[in-house]
Subunit: 117 residues, 2 copies
DNA sequence: CCCGTACTACGATGGCTATCGTACGAGCCA
DNA sequence: TGGCTCGTACGATAGCCATCGTAGTACGGG
């Protein structure tokens, strides 16, 4: 169906990224956690380094949602699929949004950890 | 006690507001538009001032989603139901989040208007 | 006391979404 | 080549969600 050497993935162009889509992608706890880890790592991460409490199929699904909504970039490197945040595009389109979401997520995680024990 | 009528509405306390819920509430185009108008008005607005392209039942549904996720405050004043942003709570929990979302929405609206003609 | 306005509750419906298991494809390595 | 790992595709399923129409409730005014 396509050239073996050029396994590529569809990404929305910067102009096709919609705020509603980004917010929707971030509104799932699992995906928000993935985004937080990607932001913390600040380099490409393979899908398999994320230990999500769901099956592989579901993991694939969540990464696709993030990619199709313009939140992450995905590239194949051998058998691995590397993920990175589209921080440049998001910051250009929606200045401060990603940072405030990440800050908010960190604060909430801290609050919940303190409350839950 | 601002209780003009006996009818009251359930609101989550500040500590019960969750980032995922707020992002979910804002990820719907209609609800995002409502929030933008509420932020622009900066005072209580009745449900009926919003001319949404959906039925009244659906309008009620969207306002409830915003309220149950802690984005807006609703109180009855006679037959009208007044809506206002919970800006104080949101800013305290997630500093900068609401502003960056509103800015992003305004920018995107401008971009889309310029592109669409 | 009745009526009109504003909003709600309920039931239905179609579509999306999160989840899974199984079967498969692409690349690496011995 | 054969097997191993990583990830995908597909089909199924259950739950949520946006939407509607209709019928109903609450409140203020005549």
């Amino acid at each position: 169906m396509q050239n073996p050497t050029s396994r590529s993935l569809e990404h929305p162009g910067r102009d096709a990224i919609r705020l509603e889509g980004v917010l929707h992608a971030l509104s799932d706890p699992l995906r928000l956690e993935v985004v937080r880890e990607l932001a913390a790592a600040d380099c490409e991460q393979s899908c398999s380094v994320f230990e999500l409490p769901v099956s592989k199929s579901t993991t694939t699904h969540h990464f696709r949602v993030l990619r199709e909504n313009g939140v992450i970039r995905q590239i194949y490197r051998g058998t691995a699929k590397m993920n990175s945040l589209r921080r440049d595009d998001l910051d250009a389109l929606f200045p401060g949004l990603l940072d405030s979401v990440l800050t908010a997520a960190a604060r909430q995680a801290g609050r919940l950890a303190a409350a839950g024990g």
